[in-house]
Amino acid sequence: MISEATLGVTVEPLGRELSDVAFALRQSTVEIRTRGTGVGSGIVWNRTGTIVTNAHVARSDRATIVLSDGRELAGIVTARDSRRDLAALTVDAGGDALPAAIIGHPTDLRTGEIVLALGNPLGITGALALGVVHAVEQRRGAPRWIRADIRLAPGNSGGPLADVRGRVVGVNTLIAYGLGVAVPVTTVLRFLADVSQGRRSAGYRAA
């Protein structure tokens, strides 16, 4: 049916591309260590040192941020919104530009498309998971939750959910009935805008 010559012709580049995307995504994924809550994940949001994670990962006011190259930096929690389960931290990389994630568009997500998760599940650093979009739950026309058919574990919290180009579309936040549930990056952008404008009504609390 299929000759030996054609076997693997599609699968091999698929594997290579997958490793490329995983490599790129891993650069902008950090490990977040706090006293008490253990190890979580985070996303390097910009080159100047903003790290985004879940509020339930950044429970204390200070955290140790471990970059993908192994550097450990002191992080300070600048804002926390427990309703959205988001937190922002800043790190001082001594003037070095940090490897910022590419932010994607959750509104373009289609059910069935492939998504990738990077994080530190059960303490395994930089682990990749592959799955598909199960459903995007909408609220007033905007994505509210991204549900993914993907295998996540504690430690993935706060890490990126990305599309096949490595563009971050969500923050992995919880596991519900086996499904990975991510906060869309559109919600993160609103959260960060609220923080920068000092709006308190959105439910965040300056830490």
Partner: protein, 318 residues
């Protein structure tokens, strides 16, 4: 280092695959419906033929006041055309469904290792999960006696809305109807051939008739001395553990504790073998059952009845 990491990798094959999967969901999702026939979460169904919806029997928990939500956002009333608990299929009729019917793949197109998606609609939106076909086998009989033309086991996660939804290939073609209700929660697909056959039967007569003895049985190992004395070909028999009052077996004089060894000229040592002998063609016919009672062989004539129709599904499964 920071510079290289911010370039978007080109995702040729990976992106095509992803687009194909999303496209398949888009296309096949048009014929996936939500069925409101139980409490809490709606069940999934498939617009199989014009005005005919196929669903998983065990998810349809009431026979009346059923409504169906379609991909176009409309809701229509549905009537139950019939159910076949033995294959876990139910068929519903709707007056008008302005959504396409499922595009069905060629039968026998299921291969181990094939990338597949399970679709559902446990609410307004279509849902998808990705997996592979993990095993394919020949025809098999379910624990309720139904015949399934091909065994198709899936390596896929089961979420709400799995049962009754379609199994599709990467081209969006329907390979079967998914169910977790036929094999202790394992993900199986009922192949298209079986679905078509059951739909035909349910649309014609509202039921899939099956022969019935009204006896509950359990396979047991017989003592070696008894096997030797009666010259039995093997040491397994079916012990009657329950007999429905006034059922076919009861009327023929079968009592609890009798051990069934053969029906007609066919040896039975497994309840599935007995179910295989109780096709619709046997209803109303007399069969000779060989039993052992108190260590002595006997022959009893039973007039096969028809299995009573189960009217609602059990409250379990997704």
């Amino acid at each position: 280092m920071a510079g290289t990491s911010t370039t978007t990798p080109t995702a040729g094959v990976l992106e095509s695959l992803s687009n194909d999967l999303a496209g398949a969901v888009d296309r096949a999702g048009q014929s996936v419906v939500a069925i409101h026939a139980r409490r809490r979460i709606p069940a999934s169904g498939i617009h199989w033929r014009p005005g005919i919806i196929v669903a998983a029997h065990h998810t349809i928990q009431r026979d009346e006041e059923i409504t169906i939500s379609l991909a176009d956002g409309s809701t229509v009333a549905a009537t139950l055309a019939g159910r076949d608990p033995t294959t876990d299929l139910a068929v519903l009729k709707v007056d008008e469904a302005k959504v396409p019917v499922a595009s069905v793949a060629e039968p026998a197109g299921v291969r181990v290792g094939a990338l597949v998606l399970a679709l559902g609609r446990p609410g307004t939106a279509v849902t998808a999960s990705l997996g592979v076909v993990s095993a394919v086998g020949g025809e098999w009989r379910t624990w309720h006696g139904g015949m399934i033309d091909q065994f198709v086991r899936l390596d896929i996660s089961i979420y709400d809305g799995f049962s009754g939804g379609p199994l599709i290939d990467a081209g969006g073609r329907v390979l079967g109807v998914n169910t977790s209700g036929l094999s202790r929660g394992a993900a199986l697909a009922i192949p298209v051939t079986t679905v078509n056959r059951v739909v035909d039967q349910l649309m014609t007569s509202g039921r899939v008739a099956r022969g019935y003895l009204g006896l509950g049985m359990q396979a047991i190992r017989l003592p070696a001395a008894l096997v030797e004395r009666l010259s039995l070909p093997n040491d397994i028999g079916l012990m009657v553990v329950s007999a429905e009052p006034d059922g076919p077996g009861d009327r023929a004089g079968i009592i609890i504790g009798d051990i069934l060894t053969a029906v007609g000229s066919t040896r039975v040592s497994d309840p599935a073998e007995l179910l295989a002998l109780l096709g619709a063609d046997r209803i109303g016919k007399a069969v000779e059952a060989k039993i052992i009672r108190a260590g002595e062989p006997r022959s009893v004539t039973i007039t096969v009845g028809e299995r009573p129709q189960q009217t609602r599904g059990p409250r379990r499964g997704k």
